[in-house]
Assembly symmetry: D2
């Protein structure tokens, strides 16, 4: 099989990660990579790690040409801009994987409250499938537009969805204390992203108002079959990549076999690695790979379950999951082109 | 005033930090620094940052001589060994500040359960005062032996004690998600402390069974005037110094003025900086200093209070607080020799 | 083709990197990975990044079985031990790639002076080929035993060999100021490798007496067709991976086309990326990949040439080059299984 | 004594470091700190490490008021702007320490060639004294305007001046391979300063054309009593603070007692720590302090001397040396307010 793929807004870090994965993918030809600000520049001049590996230059976004020559288009644009581009491309007939938040919400009011904007194409929103591969695999197979989940949200949902669905935990006291590397902020000229300000530092930010909260809640409410609210508290780690979420929740029954719930839910899902009870994952076990590692431990004194979930924000949290979704959409092996091993070092 | 001070077990990182502070302290003469493993070596050969600043060599622990020539002795030994040394020195009449866990517990059963050892000198334990300077200031003034608190415990207790005492939060759903730099593990030849294994990594560890849990609980139970249990979940940050604890608890009354509670409790305490509501501290605001910064925010949707507390584990979490306690014991200005500003960079 | 491969001494970092590469190599079956200290343990228990990817356990080194079932054996042992193992395996008929220094020297006196030991099997030494793939490709094809070069030495030789052979630079004033990440020291429980001692630090070490000096000199003397000496000055960077060497030398002729010399020498060598004059490589362009990037600039005021050469010490500096050599030995595409892109992030 | 001091352009990192030092200096009152971009904001809102320690706000630069109320004014402005401000203040009678390059050159042509600008006040330039405290101490005592040296230049000059003056090394083959932390680039919203681009990276930059080259050459030519040229090659370390320069030069006489030359030259200079031959300094020995550590080793095979010189770019490389110069100008102990110990951790 050969899949012609293009990337809109390819000069950021999720764009780089998509390029890296797609040029090594055995079934993909990368056709166009667009960028407004770096238009005309060689990709390998912006990212010299691609010297001798990628001859493409960033082009402008000619949607006619791109739609005509691409079987799939990845959108790596800011929210708002992404939906606008999706609309154009959708009408020209190509399939779309959108890495922005624009199509992640079934409830458009929630989207609009969260992102403080009106949705540019509500009619398209209902066609979109939420691209948490392991949960919506069947729907993704048939989707023409996939809304790739947020990085934090993937870490949280993968850990909590099976537990809520199985009624193993209470839905009313969930705390998600999440820690992310700085590539989560994207490629930015911003003093807040500088090494002088961040090396040897650590902080919480956006407590009580991070946008991923409502995305997590919409998805987990489905698992719960009733609305729920969670506390989601993000922190900024002095690392480049990776998210580790420590999740606190209350058990209905201390003796519930949590491992069995996960194993059952993820039996077809090779990218979700559930460790034995009491064994905890670490960032380095997953960074650079498309894996999520989940560990858990029961705090029996307090009747709590603590789940630790970690992934690479640029891979399973963005570009890797996007390619996984592409694989599903095109009916090829889900892990095709994604079998690189985590870094550890 | 001149205070003659000595340090037993001075070649570790808390020892180094004590040496750094004491040789700059205007009222202190540092007499002896002992080390079994580095005996005979110059301090500045082990720590060349002290080249031209410290001519002392590590000596053996001659308790007679040390007690005779020292007004105060700091013990920076492993638990067990520390109590044994304290016993000898106490009987020779010197004052003692113990940085180990040996005298931190009023309830010796809790100590013995936590540290899996019988206490070497229970009779001395009852004489010891818990050295959380801001809470036990009056008792420390008169103490002959002070048990310097743990690093994590200081961060947790400073944040929670006033709230529990003021009945602002429920005592039965407290979660302390704490993150520490690697100097918290001490100066160790251990693959788990290596840079190859830790740079760009992050992990949780000792979930549900970290020793500081019982220390926190004993102290907070006093504030609560009833026993309580907390979830304490430590994590290892890829930084050298600093602890940041994100603390989740349930409010009795959302409108309670939390800032007023802290301000009232800490009005005499210049090392505790409480920020305005919704403003959050960061590690770099405190590392290298003896300050604790506390920020807080209300999650009104969930009726929760989130408190972020941070400090430098080697300073306010160990050696700085030890010197603060020394100042209190000798009746000098509490901040004497401790007014260095946090690093930020 | 299927190549059965085994690794002796596989639990260190070069072992991990070999495992990572070989289990993804399309033509290789990894048979045995041995370790004395971790014998019996699952590889994925030591390196949980291999969870679900590698079911092997570390075994003891049964040379009969290993030689019988392996087409190639990689030795990742300390010097001395490596030659002893090589001798046993060689006599049983398997091919060998040795990552230690034991077979790197044609001149055994130099080896013995440098490593302060007598060579355990001089008779085998003469059969060994020095495994700098781009220089000894033809000999490697026919070799039964390949001595994989050192990490620093690869960075230096790749940059200087073509220039000396082409008589573009003087041989008597070469300075190699090299900086390496800490994985170069291996997987060690050593306070000198701890994160507390190394994060935010930088230092020179082994100035004038690093062992790689003599290895560089033996190779460059061949290029020079006369003995030469170099100053080699290593430094320790606070990063995990990567070597960057800044090399200073004197030009015979300022107008010499340096790029042409490199391009000519490396026209068949896809892993050597020579940048345009005045363009400089960075570590992140190569870490995680098997590439060397070389940049250069002329200091015309001083008639000097400055060459900057960088690579990943664990990949092109060790395990990647070892697999490249295996590919050459087995007559398959040199880059087979080695086409992963550098990390950049 | 009380010295009233002000800082123009105080919101950058050298400004922060000046504030930190001056508010702890026992003889100084900090009067005004100005900033165009942060005017009106509290210093502790920009740098929360100063919470409870500094009540000043950034003000506009009212030179009349500042000159009238200040005994000394520190200029932490970009070059060009700095000379303009100096001119205004000088004429109002205050003393000035300028941290820019504007007054560092005796030869104005060199300044104008290097900084590609014409000098705004050549008449003032001749009044300025070059503020390398240990070399120009006597002139600084009487100076009304001091040009504080560059960070790299201090590291290089302190190491080389005594050797050239004593004719211990040849002047025609000096290579200064220097590595700096990222605070050297200042406080900037620049993708090139971001943590994503710099953590785990390392690179050379500005080879053959860094501006500090001409500053080093002007000073060393004085020591040499004849013009000389050096190769100066800067690199960017993934650390926040510190410069380490590895300097290669040719010995006239291998048996020359290098330590004696340094000891003689620096006998009055407590901030210059010269280590015993063959002992090498590290960044962590000096970061956070005003010390320079110098180590050296002879490469007898090549008749070379290697000198390793390191300092904190923000302290001895900028604000610390500025305060040291202030102390000298006001006739107080040179180390007053500067006796903080290096971080090590």
């Amino acid at each position: 099989m050969n899949i012609n793929a293009s990337i809109i807004g390819a000069n950021g870090y999720t764009g780089l990660e998509l390029i890296n994965i797609l040029i090594c993918h055995p079934d993909v030809t990368l056709k166009y990579v667009t960028s407004r600000s770096d238009q005309g520049k060689k990709v390998s001049d912006i990212y010299p790690s691609l010297f001798s590996r990628c001859d493409l230059s960033f082009s402008q976004a000619d949607y006619d040409k791109i739609a005509q020559e691409s079987d799939i288009v990845f959108l790596a644009l800011p929210h708002g801009a992404s939906a606008a581009a999706a609309k154009e491309l959708y009408n020209k007939g190509t399939r779309i994987i959108d890495l922005s938040a624009d199509f992640r919400y079934q409830n458009l009011n929630t989207y609009e409250d969260t992102y403080k904007t009106s949705h540019p194409c509500p009619e398209l929103n209902s066609a979109a499938v939420y691209g948490l591969s392991e949960i919506y695999r069947e729907q993704i197979k048939k989707a023409r537009i996939v809304a790739n989940p947020g990085c934090y949200t993937t870490a949280a949902i993968v850990a909590l969805y099976p537990l809520l669905e199985a009624r193993a935990i209470r839905a009313d006291n969930i705390i998600i204390d999440a820690k992310s590397g700085i590539t989560g902020a994207g490629r930015k000229s911003d003093i807040n992203c500088s090494m002088s300000e961040n090396l040897e530092n650590f902080k919480a930010y956006s407590l009580t108002n991070h946008r991923h909260t409502s995305e997590i809640e919409e998805q987990l409410s489905k698992a719960n079959k009733a609305p729920l609210k969670v506390n989601f508290s993000p922190h900024l780690l002095p690392v480049k990549r990776g998210i580790l979420a420590t999740i606190y929740c209350d058990l209905f029954d201390q003796d519930k076999d949590i491992k069995a719930i996960y194993d059952n839910f993820y039996q077809e899902s090779k990218f979700i690695s559930v460790l034995e009870e009491n064994r905890l994952p670490e960032l380095k076990n997953v960074t650079g790979s498309n894996y999520v590692q989940i560990g858990f431990i029961k705090d029996k004194r307090l009747n709590k379950l603590i789940v630790v979930s970690c992934l690479d924000n640029l891979v399973k949290g963005a570009s890797g999951q996007a390619v996984q979704n592409m694989n599903i959409m095109f009916g090829i092996e889900e892990s095709r082109g994604l079998d690189f091993i985590a870094r550890y070092l």
